[in-house]
């Protein structure tokens, strides 16, 4: 019999298998790394219409988070403050500064400022701020050191794994309720945190739910 197929086709199946395996691994690895919240969302720092600096207001001036984000203790939604809140001070402080022109215009005309949303969870996740803020979870755990940010960026991945990391071990993250908005607070030591945290979990009957209905309704 003469050769029906050229010689190189003998190696073809092996090449294909190796090729597919390598490509598959590469694609999988690529997705595993790039298509995650950690890669795609952490560090997202969009340009905001008004250059509001948290480091000036929260750190230097010492304003509490809840002065502006006042609904965070009552509602699932932590609100961006209305322009009237800004004007509480800025009707006198820097009252003609061009950087605040948009705020003054918004207050005068009623048009909202088009803030760019940074921390966004998918629609099928029902996260509730009030129950976390009132039960010992500080802003810094999920939002990072906001008080040191000039422009806010997303500091944590906010993926389901990130949430479960804390929900599986709340004792490592809970802090005394009066220290929630003290973003610079650190526990005396990791061991002390475990001890105190465990006490909080026990005393407050912290459920730290891991079943699906807690967040996915």
């Amino acid at each position: 019999m003469s050769d029906v197929f050229p010689k190189w086709t003998n190696r073809l199946p092996l090449m294909l298998i190796v090729g597919v395996a390598l490509t598959g691994t590469a694609v999988t690895a690529g997705c595993w790394y790039y298509l995650t919240n950690k890669y795609a969302n952490v560090g997202y720092m969009p340009v905001q219409p008004v250059a509001f600096s948290h480091s000036i207001h929260a750190d230097q001036l010492g304003m509490d988070c809840r002065y502006c984000h006042n609904a965070v203790e009552k509602s699932w939604y932590s609100n961006i403050p209305a322009s009237s809140v800004c004007m509480n001070c800025h009707s006198q402080v820097l009252k003609d500064d061009p950087k605040l022109a948009l705020v003054r215009e918004s207050y005068a005309t009623g048009t909202p400022i088009h803030w760019v949303q940074i921390h966004k969870l998918p629609d099928y996740v029902y996260f509730n701020h009030s129950v976390h803020v009132n039960r010992g979870v500080s802003c810094v755990e999920c939002h990072g050191q906001i008080n040191k940010m000039d422009e806010v960026y997303q500091a944590k991945p906010l993926s389901m794994a990130f949430c479960l990391d804390c929900h599986r071990d709340p004792a490592a993250k809970l802090r005394p309720p009066d220290k929630i908005t003290d973003l610079d607070w650190k526990p005396a030591s990791p061991e002390q945190q475990q001890v105190d945290g465990a006490k909080f979990v026990h005393d407050w009957k912290v459920e730290s739910l891991q079943n699906c209905s807690a967040c996915h309704r």
């Binding site: 609904a71 009552k74 918004s106 760019v116 949303q117 459920e207 079943n211 209905s213 309704r217």
Partner: protein, 1104 residues
């Protein structure tokens, strides 16, 4: 609230990586071309394209359209806060406002839930003295009417659109004219209302425009109760039924559970008399005499199947018997003569009367609104004779409304006495009696002003059409059935600038202050309501304390009654026959009189008795259907087709599909009102036939002399429950009170319903142990949720079904999908007819709400390949929508079939597609590419037209996911409410452990179905707490699981239904039909017991 990202914008600035194509990319023509999602091929370009040029273009357009790096940018999503924070507003928390839904001469007190400044759910007001927080199904569905894309949105004059200012000017001129000539020729046609503000304005108009006339029209009119009571007692009174105080209730064609006014009050009171805690508790007894199978008949202990036109004879015989047995003297001659023509079993009436007489002051005779005055007079006479007045029926002050009827108005229009017509609400061109020819009458008027909710049949081509505001957008007031004054508060500004009735009347009267708020405030002040503080309390509480009407002491004026009965001239009745059929017009259980025709929830709600959706049918009894040869059913491909027949009555015809109704009187035809509208919206189009076309002033309720003929055609119907039998499985367990007490006498500690003389279900462990079963996970939650449904209390009203649909964003699917068994409601009411179908007199009906049982050993959980359905620590079977891939194995495995699958993205399908085509993907939508392009531009909205999308979005509950195609859903025990309650408790507890939900604190959440149920049949709560209401119900001896032999260990259990037949009645039964069927099917020898297995012996003959 989840913000929806806008479509990905092309960034203005961004690094340009392809310098070589810069020039090409920047020309305006290119940009225009490339920004189309689909550069649609060479035919768009005028020049022929070289291959090289084409490739350059494609890569550049891909880049610009988003395939390149600039397109990988995260889409910008914005947050738009307020510029000035509204006081007291917290985004994300719902607020509740007290309001009321006005019904014909009454109101339903409500707490309306408002999310983000718009109403999303209606609940009853539990603080109101005459309410337990339950509502009826009409109320639950009424919120969808607010967001109806087909509602009237524009001011029109003679077919051209006008502005609001034009209308104000016109009304000013109109008013000036009217005031100048004292209202000569002016007629108002309004719906009935209990509003004191409207009455006050009416008086003002009567003073200022003395020649103006006021007419009221309701196609379904309950005013006869008041009219007859006033006549009989010689005082302006109306009856209020305290059904819970009655031990014996006789309903003379009175569908007080399903079809009369104030259903939420009636059902609540009726259920209170049926619920038992122990076997020793008393149970009321309901006798129903009726021609149609109604919800009242379905719940009756004894039912006399008698044509509607013969009920007066039954009433007369009842009167004769009662008066004889109480020794109160013989009845009038007219009554006696009528009684003689009673064609049924006289012993039935005799024993029924005996029961009434044995319970003086604790009986109640109700006459239905369809019955002639004679029956109502008899009912009032008997109630008076038996001492029921003041105990089970209260007479409350009810001033004469002093209105003309629509027939009077039509006459005045035809002869020219009225030439200026103001129509407020209602739809007279659709529902006025056919012989009035209303379209013509209305056209006779020189000026017509119509304030209407839809641009419907009554839309005046020559005249003004003003959009009416929904009650959720209006200020107003009303009086509930017991006379308490309630406010109607708006939850939202009129979405389309609609006007309220009060404002239009005020403008026509030429008042200075036409703001409805001020009018209501003034009425409140003049009714002695009080100052501003009192007003604020009034609005907060939702009712005015101590404003309920005091019962009036009345005595029957025997002479007036006798004269009236004699004057009615009804001395005998003849039974309808095959050639002389009786036609009964009844208020539809879903459409009401037609006002809910464009309401998708109501259209899709299976009728509580026939389980028909999306249309009405011509109901006849099974025997009549067979006799007339109309029982033709074709069942191919699982679709039901029925014979299409033509009815002829007094020269008018109507055609519709014929449906056999077990338990309906022979030789009668029942026509449901409210369908077949000519001018309705996208939802109600082409649904059903119009019964109003054969309804005339002389035969508003019941007519004799109809003929029915088969047209030979078949018509397909969408019925959700065509199978009426339980097939010998004890799904619904019921017993007579005697059986119950007998059993408890023998087994004082036993569980009656579980025992039921049956073998114990086998006990076994599942083959594969559930990894979540066990002390570390399951049952570790602080609360353990469970539900108990009391079948004695449940009347099958379906408020729970509509409430669930409202709360959980459940879509409607349309007629053809319902025929494919793809309806989406999470809770359904299973209705079974029990008994021998050939013995229609003895048919019984049972109802059972069926929802996810949240089984502890759920068969659906182990079979999900992606673990989308799991169990949580508190006992809920949880459905995770985002994980579901749509295998549908869980639904396959569910023995209760309570899982619903979203086949065609019903939430995003346009309303046009309710009638097909079946598929809704953009590839099929309209067949053109535009649909696909639209879809890609705004994937959330898809092909839905802007008005549907914008409005129906507002209705959705933000706490519940809106599910997409391919996802399974089911009852979640309102997990959003449970989580909401737990979160609120934890927030309140803060740094403490005291957050457990307790019934004593009132923190235990109510599921939507529980909250809406007027009968309090559904009880949800914490079964880990032995003192909770649900635990105590489950501990009752009537508690059982459905399909317990499957060992699914459901958290939802049922309490067996107790019937209370009178052993002396001729149709008394020892055990309910379903139990008998169960006994027959499971214990009887099929070859010896012909009844149990008809045809078994025949089949045996076939063997050998």
């Amino acid at each position: 609230m989840k913000t929806i990202p806008p479509s990905c914008p092309v960034p203005d600035t961004g690094p340009k990586y392809w310098r070589s194509l810069d020039d090409l990319a920047d020309t305006p023509e290119f940009r225009q071309w490339a920004e189309r999602e689909f550069p649609a091929g060479a035919s768009e370009l005028s020049d022929p394209v070289t291959r090289r040029y084409f490739v350059k273009l494609m890569s550049a357009s891909c880049l610009l359209a988003g395939f390149g790096l600039t397109g990988c940018r995260k889409p910008v999503e914005n947050i738009y806060p307020f510029s000035k924070m509204p006081e007291g507003y917290v985004h994300g928390l719902a607020r509740f406002y007290a309001t009321a839904m006005p019904t014909r001469r009454s109101a339903v007190p409500l707490l309306a839930k408002s999310n983000d400044g718009r109403p999303t759910k209606l609940e009853g007001n539990p603080h109101h003295p005459d309410s337990n927080g339950g509502t009826d199904r009409y109320t639950q569905a009424s919120i969808l009417n607010l967001y109806d894309p087909d509602r009237a949105t524009r001011f029109m004059q003679n077919g051209t659109v006008r502005t609001h200012d034009d209308v104000i000017d016109f009304l000013k001129k109109f008013s000036d004219n009217a005031l100048a000539n004292g209202g000569k020729g002016l007629g108002f046609l309004a719906e009935q209302s209990s509003s004191p503000s409207r009455d006050r304005l009416r008086k003002i108009i009567a003073d200022k425009l003395p020649q103006a006339r006021w007419y009221e029209h309701e196609p379904v009119d309950f005013d006869i109760h008041r009219q007859v009571a006033t006549a009989a007692f010689g005082q302006p009174v109306a009856p209020y039924f305290k059904i819970d105080a009655a031990s014996v209730i006789v309903a003379l064609d009175s569908d007080f559970i399903g079809g009369e006014d104030n259903l939420h009050v009636n059902i609540r009171r009726f259920a209170a008399g049926r619920r038992t805690r122990t076997s020793g508790d008393p149970v009321s007894r309901l006798y129903a005499i009726e021609g149609l199978m109604t919800m009242t008949g379905a719940n009756a202990d004894h039912r006399l199947r008698l044509a509607t036109s013969l009920v007066p004879a039954a009433a007369a015989l009842l009167a004769v018997e009662v008066l004889q047995q109480t020794g109160k003297g013989p009845a009038d001659d007219a009554v006696q003569s009528l009684a003689k023509s009673f064609p049924g079993d006289k012993a039935w009436i005799h024993e029924c009367a005996a029961d009434l007489v044995a319970n003086p002051g604790a009986g109640l005779i109700l006459a239905g609104h369809r019955q002639p005055t004679v029956v109502h007079l008899i009912a009032n006479t008997l109630n008076s004779a038996l001492g029921n007045i003041g105990k089970t029926v209260l007479m409350l002050d009810s001033p004469e409304p002093n209105v003309g009827s629509i027939a009077d108005l039509a006459r005045s229009l035809y002869d020219g006495t009225i030439d200026t017509l103001v129509v407020m609400g209602g739809n007279p061109a659709y529902d006025a009696p056919a012989d009035l020819n209303w379209q013509q009458a209305q056209a006779k008027a020189k000026t017509v002003v119509r304030l209407g909710y839809y641009e419907d049949e009554s839309f005046p081509q020559n005249g003004w059409s003003l959009p009416l505001a929904h009650f959720l957008e209006s200020w107003g007031d009303a009086r509930t059935a017991d006379g308490t004054l309630v406010p109607i508060q708006p939850l939202i500004e009129p979405l389309f600038g609609g006007l309220t009735e009060l404002e239009v009347l005020a403008r026509i009267a030429g008042l200075d202050d036409t703001s409805p708020y001020n009018i209501v405030r003034e009425t409140f002040r003049s009714a002695g309501g009080g100052d501003d503080e009192a007003w604020k309390h009034f609005l907060h509480d939702g009712y005015l304390k101590d404003s309920a009407a005091k019962p009036v002491d009345v005595t029957l004026n025997a002479q007036t009654v006798s004269a009236a009965i004699a004057g009615a001239g009804l001395t005998s009745v003849t039974a309808p026959s095959k050639d002389n059929l009786e036609v009964v017009f009844h208020r539809d259980y879903k459409m009401d009189d037609g006002r809910f025709n464009n309401n998708g929830w109501m259209q899709e709600l299976p009728d509580p008795i026939t389980k028909m959706t999306w249309e009405n049918v011509i109901l006849v009894s099974v025997k009549t259907a067979n006799d007339l040869g109309l029982y033709r059913r074709n069942q191919e491909n699982n679709r039901i087709e029925a014979a299409w027949a033509k009815i002829e009555l007094d020269g008018r015809t109507v055609e519709g599909p014929v449906w056999p109704q077990p338990g309906q009187a022979d030789n009668t035809i029942a026509l449901a009102l409210g369908y077949g509208r000519a001018q309705t919206g996208r939802v109600g189009r082409d649904s059903g036939y119009n019964a109003y076309t054969v309804r005339t002033t002389k035969n508003l309720h019941c007519a004799i002399g109809a003929k029915i003929s088969d047209t030979g055609r078949l018509h397909s119907l969408s019925v959700t429950q065509d199978h009426w039998a339980m097939e010998g499985r004890p799904i619904i367990r019921e017993a007579t009170l005697a059986e119950y007490r007998d059993y408890k006498g023998k087994h004082p500690e036993g569980n009656f319903a579980r025992g039921f003389d049956m073998e114990k279900p086998p006990s076994f462990e599942p083959l594969y142990p559930n990894p979540f079963d066990g002390p570390k996970f399951k049952g570790t939650g602080v609360h353990q949720w469970g539900m108990a449904i009391d079948l004695s209390a449940c009347v099958g009203c379906a408020s729970c079904v509509v409430a669930c649909q409202s709360e959980n964003n459940i879509p409607i699917v349309g007629k053809s999908q319902v025929a494919n068994k793809r309806e989406m409601s999470w809770i359904r009411i299973d209705r079974y007819f029990t008994g021998d179908p050939a013995k229609e007199d003895a048919i019984q009906v049972v109802n059972q709400p069926m929802l996810c049982q949240h089984c502890e050993a759920a068969p659906c959980e182990n079979v999900c390949p992606v673990n989308a359905t799991t169990h949580d620590q508190e006992g809920l079977n949880v459905m995770v929508y985002n994980r579901c891939v749509g295998t549908r194995y869980c639904s396959n495995n569910c023995p209760y079939k309570v899982r619903r699958f979203n086949f065609f993205d019903y939430n995003r399908r346009t309303l046009e597609q309710l009638r097909g085509p079946v598929y809704s993907t953009p590839l099929v939508a309209g067949g053109d590419q535009r649909g696909l392009v639209d879809w890609l531009k705004d994937p959330d909205r898809g092909n839905k037209p802007a008005d549907e999308w914008e409005l129906l979005k507002l209705l959705k509950n933000p706490d519940v996911t809106v599910r997409m195609r391919g996802v399974m859903e089911k009852c979640s025990y309102c997990v959003q409410r449970i989580e909401g309650a737990k979160i609120a408790a934890k927030v309140r507890a803060g740094a403490s452990g005291d957050w457990m939900l307790k019934e004593s604190d009132g923190t235990i959440p109510k599921t939507a179905c529980q909250q809406a149920c007027p009968a309090e049949a559904i009880v949800f709560g914490n079964i880990a707490d032995p003192e909770s209401h649900v635990s105590r119900l489950k501990a009752q001896d009537r508690d059982y699981n459905v399909l317990d032999f499957l060992n699914t260990k459901p958290r939802t259990t049922y309490l067996a239904k107790i019937r209370n037949p009178n052993p002396k009645m001729p149709d008394a039964y020892e055990m309910p039909n379903s139990t008998e069927e169960y006994e027959n099917k499971n214990r009887a020898n099929p070859f010896e017991n012909e009844d149990a297995w008809p045809g078994a012996n025949e089949a045996r003959k076939g063997e050998s």
